[in-house]
Subunit: 452 residues, 2 copies
């Protein structure tokens, strides 16, 4: 399903813009202005003349020009009338943030809404959703103020999310941590644009390299499976399934009226289609970052390079617990390394460059691991607090990473000093993590996707 | 074993202070000065007169006054001579950061060192360690510069760590995230002050409310078990075991010469002694924060209050997966709440106050859960990005938390705006988490400790 208009609309009408700056319609209007959306914006309110010095239209029908997308922010009881007007105006794409339909038991109004959408051939995102965001075109219908929720920088992770709260908070976190996104859509009750349609669209989308999904239920299992099988051949699809327990599943029913279904059926489906299943939101975005940035590994043999013995051990434990393999470097390479290093360095796996490691020791060790055929993936645990590490370690790791020979993943735990260096590494395209366990788990998903 | 001197020494000598600001002895000296340690500081270097405008002594024997603790930073080959001199000077407490003993295969020098320590009745932290930190007295022998590694604020978590790298990076992270610590000790090869002695001491220490341990091996299992059984009756002890896999265990052998031992034996020991075993460093400090701050729960029944449906579901899944119980509030309370809330609110568990939730809705919901006998623990998922939440939600949650009736735990995911509010909540004593899964896992450990 082509959903380009929802992300690349050249004109947008917001129906239900109050003068009250806390109300949803007003917030969306402000966000489009403040976010420098380049298209035309129309606002609708039967009881106001001007808002933020913009002309207000009484109804959508008053607007002479073409409107690509209408954002409906009126209460549920007015929504049918508004959709009728949108239909008459010839609008084919509506984002409906309004809540109060099947998710609170009102299936009747929802059925009427579906009939109207059919009649006028309108595609709808929602209702009961947070809206959409295209980070590249700046088309932003998310109803959270920009000062409360930052928007992420442009990138190539796209996120389709059945929960508005999950979408907004994750984006806010990602923006603060400096991760980039392409398209985001909170699709709520999914009346005629469902998770399968979004998956198909994002699968075709050239700006999207990795697709993340938070789903509570799937409307049409067959359709989803068919599309997923194709899309996962082209790019990774990562899913967190809300309502994976029977208690969570009950809660999903009142949230988005989703029949969350049997856990084992879902797990089977993920396996069958090549979807990467994550247990938590944190795990999903760690996986997304590594899949967005890293070259695919040829195998599952991991070499650990560290300047902290304890971190080497903890990382080793994580490698084994995630059923990856500890690489064994070529004997000649090991002998050569031993010549270059002081005797205190442990040339093994983990390779412990010890606490007085210099940047140059890392340089030598990473180069050797990159060139050794027995190593598929390199995890560099760089504890940047130690006195002899110079900031040019960032350039060295980044340059090796740019060769795109093998995935290089960094672990650095710490405060402001470490985070400043780590952010440069991230900006240079090296995925970085705070704890060994989360890094290894992300590596596991990378291997899962690339190594069959 | 009374180890007070290591943390409350009134005078300290650093043996091996170079003029080079990158060298270990110099860094420790600078840290004591910059950290405003109130005791007397002596520095030793046979080849210098003044360093940082301080008088330098040729040897420890030149010093007339009493020295409570000596920090030994000379290379391994000089260490025996230095200890001999410390013995003659009558120093009974030494922190030895020097590496290059049994952990690199030199057991002979280490044996000689042990004999010297016996002869002069010297207690030693190390060798091959990072040092010690008392956040209250500011006695700080950690050899990482303060600009690279922040020191945490005073608090009541103490941390004994067999790995210097793990200790330093976790402290740095904790300092940045605003968590408080009491005492920290990286004990390395543990020649005559081992993990059991530290456990016993921290168990008696009044400034310590929660004890965290990173261990690779235990020297004397029987002694550790006996002490652990007593200490866990008084305060929670949390352990991460490095080398829990056989590959990790091999790495532990080259790191601190620890025989890491069989996994199942360790797990059995943790269970038998009431030690809380965590799988990762992240999990340990999440557990420590909640155990430090929260009142003990009476049972394991959790009530979730949220303004985001998806978060309610994900949190429910986590509650079930961690084998906690979803609370069922009293029917009368539910009926009363329904009267007070608009119909869109889902008064259940999770209680979904929905996206237009006000601070007052949270107020009503938390109060009801606090007073309902069917609820033992309250998880408040507050997505602070939504427009109608006002910052005074911080005061409301904090005031309920201060009643010390039930544990209240907060989940807030997001960026700068959220983090600013969240830090106030933390400062007021409410443990806060980014993701539902980590919050619930921490709650599980709280229940594990208090509910038998």
């Amino acid at each position: 399903m082509n959903l380009d208009k929802f992300f690349k609309a050249k004109s947008i009408a917001i129906i239900g813009v109050s003068k009250n700056p806390n109300k949803v319609g007003h917030v969306i209007f402000r966000n489009l202005l403040d976010g420098h959306y380049a298209g035309r914006i129309y606002i609708i309110n039967p009881n106001a003349d001007r808002i933020l010095n913009y002309k207000v239209n009484k109804t959508i029908l008053e607007i002479k020009e073409q409107v690509d997308v209408a954002v409906c922010c009126v209460p549920a009881e007015l929504s049918l009338k508004v959709i009728e007007q949108c239909g008459k105006k010839g609008i084919k794409h509506v984002v409906m943030v309004t809540a109060g339909f099947s998710e609170v038991g009102d299936t009747k109004t929802e059925e009427k809404l579906v009939r109207l959408l059919d009649k006028y051939k309108i595609k709808i995102i929602g209702p009961n959703c947070l809206g959409t965001l295209d980070v590249h075109t700046k088309l932003d219908t998310l109803f959270i103020p920009r000062y409360r929720m930052k928007r992420p920088k442009p990138g190539s992770i796209s996120f389709a999310c059945q929960s508005g709260a999950v979408a907004s908070t994750i984006l806010d976190l990602a923006a603060t941590e400096g991760y980039g996104f392409a398209k985001v859509v909170s699709y709520g009750n999914a009346l005629n644009v469902d998770e399968s349609d979004l998956l198909e669209y994002l699968g075709e989308d050239e700006e999207t390299k990795v697709i993340c999904f938070y789903i509570e239920g799937i409307k049409n299992g067959r359709k989803f499976i068919d599309i997923a099988k194709k899309v996962t051949q082209k790019k990774p699809v990562i899913v967190v399934k809300g309502g994976i327990t029977s208690e969570g599943s009950k809660a999903a029913l009142s949230h988005t009226a989703s029949l969350a279904g049997d856990v084992e059926i879902y797990k089977g489906m993920f396996k069958q289609t090549g979807i990467i299943h994550c247990e938590s939101l944190e795990e999903m975005f760690n996986a997304a970052r590594i899949l967005e940035k890293s070259v695919g590994p040829k195998g599952n043999k991991v070499q650990i390079i560290t300047n902290g013995g304890g971190y080497g051990i903890v990382t080793t434990d994580a490698v084994i617990n995630n059923r990856l393999i500890m690489a064994e470097m070529d004997k000649k390479v090991v002998a050569e390394l031993k010549k270059n290093f002081p005797p205190i360095v442990i040339v093994s796996n983990p390779m412990d460059l010890v606490g007085d490691a210099t940047t140059e020791r890392y340089n030598i060790a990473i180069k050797a691991a990159l060139e050794d055929k027995n190593v598929d993936i390199i995890i560099v645990v760089a504890l940047l607090q130690t006195p002899l590490i110079t900031p040019d370690i960032i350039d060295i790791i980044s340059e090796y990473d740019e060769l795109r020979m093998k995935p290089i993943v960094c672990v650095s735990t710490g405060g402001d000093f470490v985070m400043t260096l780590r952010r440069s590494l991230e900006d240079n395209g090296v995925p970085c993590f705070t704890f060994p366990e989360e890094a290894v788990r992300a590596v596991k998903h990378l291997v899962e996707y690339y190594v069959k």
